[in-house]
């Protein structure tokens, strides 16, 4: 579904992605973690071309992103993206945030799009908030609406860029539960997160990235019980028991 082959990316002189190779199969959930500034956000943003790559090959849903002729809007319609800061449209109600793209891009009739949106809001347990504007929702609620908005396009892939990092601690659980349900429904997912509980319980594979390179990649049990790379051992120690 997603295949990175020797991908490089530079911000000026800064080498943010250094020879990245990563393969995500259909239905797989892959967690990407690493220290801040390691390039993990850039990595996930290249998948829907919010950041273009400079070298190498990146194939998403059969489309080669290094080909200048690729229709980027068509690709993005198939890939849902969930942001750290939610980025809901503040001038639209929760319902309209969800129905806008299906109506305007997919050409779904309004009534049908609204029925689907209400079903999605029920799925994220927010049906009663359909006519509310984002400013009247809590962070956790906004993020759940944002997930529903991405799902409304019936994407083949869902990308999550630190979806719980901007949330108050008591709201993290509600968002992770929605993501867990989604993973169990067989969605292909790439998740950048520091939530190691989610990585351990839900993901099929965990990737550790530092200085723009993937240093280690393993199934969660192996990744947490038997980390090989010294930097990963340090990182896990800091993330799992920050006081020691």
């Amino acid at each position: 579904m997603i295949r990175f082959e020797g991908v490089h990316k530079y911000f000026g002189k800064l080498h943010v992605l250094n020879d990245v190779n990563l393969h995500v199969k259909k239905g797989e959930v892959v967690v990407v973690c690493g220290p801040s500034g390691s390039g993990k956000s850039t990595l996930i943003r290249t998948i829907n071309q919010l950041e273009p790559i400079d070298e190498g090959k990146l194939i998403v849903d059969g489309m080669d992103l290094s080909d200048p002729k690729v229709n980027i809007n068509k690709l993005r319609a198939e890939v849902g993206f969930v942001f750290q800061q939610f980025n809901l449209y503040p001038h639209l109600t929760a319902l309209k945030n969800i129905t806008l793209a299906p109506i305007k891009i997919r050409g779904t009739p309004k009534k049908e799009a609204e029925e689907q949106a209400i079903a999605l809001l029920e799925r994220v347990d927010l049906a009663e908030k359909k006519d509310v504007h984002p400013s009247q929702l809590s962070g956790g609620q906004q993020q759940r609406v944002a997930i529903a908005r991405a799902l409304a396009m019936k994407p083949k892939i869902m990308l999550f860029d630190e979806p719980t990092s901007a949330l108050d601690p008591e709201m993290i659980g509600e968002v992770l539960m929605v993501m867990k349900d989604l993973a169990e429904s067989g969605m292909t997912m790439v998740v950048v997160t520091h939530e190691m509980g989610f990585a351990r319980e839900v993901s099929h594979r965990v990737s550790f990235i530092d200085f723009g390179s993937i240093l280690e990649e393993a199934e969660p049990a192996e990744f947490f019980m038997n980390p090989k790379h010294e930097r990963l051992r340090q990182f896990l120690k800091q993330v799992l028991s920050p006081m020691h």
Binding site: K74, R76, H91, I105, P134
Partner: protein
């Protein structure tokens, strides 16, 4: 002692009242048409001004600087006295057969005002967080459609107070159309003064009408933005 005897009946009834009323109608037509066109043109120029294509951006920039840095009166004279000399005869005949004075005034007011509106809207767009564009592009919207559905609707909400200013300017600036013979309110007030020497009454009436129109616009746009347009509160 004030020797002048006020005669309000002159402007409140009879022929001269009818003149003033017809002037009010023309002023309203001129203002409404110019405001609507200037708003649409201003939106277009604002988007062009932010285009990634350099020639488009430069054209919009040149347009802005040209039309907001020359006097409106000169622009009105240009369209009225100058433009027909370079237009094909067929177009000219058609223009003369319609209301050429009115059309020239609308063109001048529209273009002049659109330059200011475009800058106001552009500053509104620049104040929208760039993540809004990212979110919209991520859903598969093109740049232009993101502007249409996500960015401009938010930018216009932010821009309402300066937009009201521009709309009021159109109403007040429309009085310049009298110089090319558009029989709008100021023109008619001047006529009444010429026929009756009741200049105080005539221009007081005009003043009151302009003031009323401005207040109505302010209230209407504010009401519209507060109730019909949904709120845009900060998170």
């Amino acid at each position: 002692m004030l020797k002048y005897k006020f005669d309000w009946a002159v402007v409140l009834s009879g022929t001269y009242y009818d003149w003033l009323v017809s002037g009010v109608k023309v002023t309203i037509q001129l203002s409404v048409v110019s405001i609507a066109l200037a708003f649409l043109l201003g939106l277009t120029i604002a988007v062009m001004r932010m285009s990634k294509l350099r020639p488009v951006r430069w054209f919009a920039h040149g347009y802005l600087e040209f039309f907001r840095n020359t006097p409106l009166l000169v622009q009105i004279f240009f369209w009225y006295f100058g433009s027909y000399k370079i237009l094909p005869t067929a177009v000219n005949d058609w223009l003369v057969s319609t209301n050429f004075e009115f059309a020239s005034a609308v063109i001048a007011l529209t273009i002049y005002t659109s330059a200011f509106i475009a800058e106001d809207i552009r500053s509104g767009v620049l104040s929208i967080p760039k993540e809004q564009m990212e979110a919209s592009r991520s859903s598969g919207f093109s740049y232009i459609r993101s502007m249409q559905f996500i960015i401009l609707p938010q930018a216009v909400r932010i821009t309402i107070p300066p937009l009201i200013n521009q709309f009021l300017n159109v109403v007040k600036n429309s009085s310049l159309a009298m110089t090319i013979g558009v029989a709008e309110l100021t023109y008619q007030a001047r006529q009444v003064e010429s026929y009756t020497f009741k200049g105080f009454e005539a221009f007081t009436a005009a003043t009151v009408v302009y003031l009323a129109m401005s207040i109505i616009i302010t209230i209407a746009v504010t009401w519209y933005s507060k109730t019909i347009l949904s709120p845009l509160k900060a998170r």
